[in-house]
Amino acid sequence: MNSRFDPTVESVNASELVDPTGSRTHSGLGRRARDGSIEISAPAGIVSHDPDDLVVTVLAGTKVSEFSDAIGLQKQFVPLDPRSDQATVGGVIASGLSGVRRLGFGPLRDNLLEVRFVTGYGKLVKVGGPTVKNVTGFDIPRLLVGSLGTLGLIVQATFRCRPLPSESRWFTTSSEPGGALQKMFRPTAILSDSRSTYVLLSGEAVDVATSCRLLASCTETADVQLPEGPHRGRMSVAPATLASVEMQLRATKASDLRWLIEWGVGTIHLAADSSTSIALARAIAVDAGGWLLIEDGAEDLDPFGVTIPNLAIMSRLKRAFDPDEKFARGRFG
């Protein structure tokens, strides 16, 4: 089992500074790793898929498109949902960004069961376990989600799969999204942009139809896309503040600002033609007690825009995983 990873462990051991790298689809997140870091990628491929147990193990360098196709053959899926399906599975874990189906299927971290990775002191370790329920030892897989490569080189991950729902359809509605959220039972997603509300419904056809009837002028629509643009960010605010944050976004003079709100979650995806507009949105987020992460562009702005909480605790943990600060040095500052 370990021999598959020997070359990876060797390259980590042979390098002074390492920047774990996938497809670079999320490389705009966080600060840049220090110059001189050697980019090392994880191997790719599906290790095992056990459809009867709804569990899949994949090498971290596998592209999400390939991963989804492989488990899709058995009519199963894992809701990773990165912006680009060219992202690698390891990259998705390290960037920690959940997709728009989070309301229905939970955040990325709740779908991850076990991880194998190489530590800064050059050991290949296993954390978590391969079953859907497990409290054997500390829950370290969750610590790796969103760690931006700073804790080690992720080489393999085990996820819980879900059966593909018999139906999964997007609708637009003139209902107000906050009200829709209160009215509906387990919608998969409720999104809105400046023009419309979008609802993703999954399940039995009759339930999808029933839920749709709860909404005003419910009409089927194409898949909803995240806003695109040279400058992109992701806002996080308390779900209760979304309506007021949206009003403030509408009130800005930034006509180039586009957004997509995840109701019930508190995430707002933003894109703009100028980084000034992203800065305006960030001010609104911070004012609401939240923050805005830069996902791409906006190089004149700080990647986080807020002091990262509990930095002292983080650095103690960082030293436990990576005593010589070999991995992704400087990503969090």
């Binding site: 009867d52 329920k133 030892g137 500390f138 969750r142 059966p163 992460l293 103690r316 436990a320």
Partner: protein
């Protein structure tokens, strides 16, 4: 001795009455420990002061909620100070629109659901001990329960934790807004069994009550058929809200105890619940019925009313009360195996019990492969305890060999720390010890738990007691 604080309350003094020390020297597991003193903080600052005092004096401390844990996680060793959170039991606030609540760690699990009920919401994790167990304890063990099959264990329902870290600092881990930048410290804290700090405030997710619920009882003439039905339901892509299995011995015992209407002569019963919108509920219920019948179910009974449904669940939740009528002692195990391996694993663990001449029963969360083999015995019988332990170890080894894990919801605590090396390599355990050492360099937070001996720094030489009357 430390000088008293201003505004001190009597509850802040360490107590060492023999009765209290004895009461708090163990949890609901079988191991006895040794408490040096006990205290009952009323807020985070009391907890922080107690922890800081321990740090100053080099005394270990153990957090404890209701003490319902079965793995010895709250059992004090080496005269540790037991920090009991039962007086911190308030629901601080409920935000019905956001479906969240801030609660204190000593709040009982069922009281949280009761508080959410007026809003049509509930707290999803429902351990069998939910009437007695506390949210703080649930966080420490990442507790589960029957309904965690579809909705996930405690960690999926905790958004933020205010905790007193082993160095006495108070930190907020996680946030109301999603995905705080930086490491998911909330994630590593949940399930850390009191070794990374003590929760003083928890932000939990509440979920809406489902519009429709169908509870079903399937009975079988063989355990193999029941187990194969479970595997087939999961393999068919059905995700019930709960999928519980009870074998003949426990079914009969429960029936004698509460009269839930269970078939006394069945070899095994499955209690299955599906919930959601009516189309999905009906569809899943009919598929489950079909799968059950195809695997030899003798009867598939659908609860026709809420009271019938409550009665079926009362049977399941009374299982441990019913056992007391059979033998004075029981040892309840907790392990998880892949759902596809249930038939073979169950067969083997009955054989293991037989080979040690022990009576075993099974009542467990079959849907997620979470086994709870339960050995009943009378500890007054000479030599029986050794046989119980030997059988338990063999059962766990069999579960690991089938691709399973050591614990699904009870935790490792004292009970299974020695077996950790059978699941994890030395390098894996070294990393876990490094994590604990990073946050608790002096090894005072619930020492001697989870990790096998020899992995932590500074784990030797703890031998100080906090004197009674110390202001903490």
């Amino acid at each position: 001795m430390l000088a008293p604080r201003f505004n001190t309350r009597e509850s802040e003094r360490a107590r060492a009455e023999p009765l209290e020390l004895s009461l708090y020297s163990r949890d609901a597991g079988l191991a006895n420990g040794q408490a040096g003193a006990v205290c009952f903080p009323r807020d985070a600052s009391d907890v922080a002061f107690a922890v800081a005092t321990c740090k100053k004096l080099g005394v270990p401390f153990v957090a404890r909620g209701s003490g319902t844990g079965l793995a010895g996680g709250a059992t004090p060793l080496d005269d540790a100070l037991v920090i009991v959170t039962t007086q911190m039991n308030r629901v601080i606030s409920i935000d019905a629109a956001s479906r969240t609540a801030w609660v204190e760690p000593g709040l009982l699990n069922l009281d949280l659901t009761r508080a959410a009920q007026p809003y049509g919401l509930h707290y999803a994790p429902d351990p069998s001990s939910q009437q007695a167990c506390s949210i703080g304890g649930n966080v420490a063990t990442n507790a589960g329960g029957p309904h965690c099959l579809s909705s996930g264990s405690t960690t999926a329902h905790v958004l933020a934790v205010e905790a007193v870290l082993p160095n006495g600092e108070v930190a907020m881990l996680g946030s109301t807004a999603p995905d705080q930048p930086g490491f998911d410290l909330r994630g590593i804290f949940v399930g850390s069994e009191g070794m990374l700090g003590i929760a003083t405030k928890v932000l939990v997710k509440l979920v809406p009550n489902p519009p429709q619920i169908q509870t079903m009882l399937l009975d079988f003439m063989s355990i193999d058929e029941a187990a194969a039905t479970v595997s087939a339901i999961i393999a068919a892509g059905i995700m019930p809200a709960a999928l519980e299995m009870m074998d003949s011995r426990i079914t009969a015992a429960v029936e004698d105890f509460v009269g839930a209407g269970y078939p006394r002569d069945a070899a095994a019963v499955l209690l299955v619940e599906v919930d959601g919108l009516s189309g999905g509920v009906d569809h899943q219920a009919s598929l489950i019925t079909e799968i059950g019948r195809a695997h030899g179910a003798r009867e598939v009974r659908l609860a026709r009313s809420e009271s019938e449904r409550q009665l079926l669940w009362k049977g399941r939740k009374s299982a441990f009360g019913a056992i007391a009528r059979i033998a004075p002692d029981y040892y309840l195990h907790d392990a998880v195996v892949p759902r596809s391996k249930l038939v073979g694993v169950l067969r083997t663990i009955y054989e293991i019990a037989d080979s040690h001449d022990l009576t075993m029963m099974n009542v467990f969360h079959a849907g997620d492969g979470n086994l709870h083999p339960l050995i009943v015995f009378d500890r007054r019988v000479i030599g029986v305890w050794e046989r119980v332990q030997a059988a338990g170890t063999e059962i766990l080894e069999r579960c690991l060999a089938a691709g399973g894990v050591l614990s699904g919801e009870h935790g490792i605590g004292l009970e299974k720390r020695a077996m950790m090396a059978q699941f994890f390599s030395e390098a894996d355990l070294e990393l876990q010890a490094r994590v604990a050492d990073a946050l608790d360099p002096h090894g005072l937070a619930n020492p001697g738990k989870v990790l096998p001996a020899g992995f932590r720094c500074g784990e030797v030489g703890i031998n100080r007691t906090l004197p009674e009357g110390t202001w903490i």
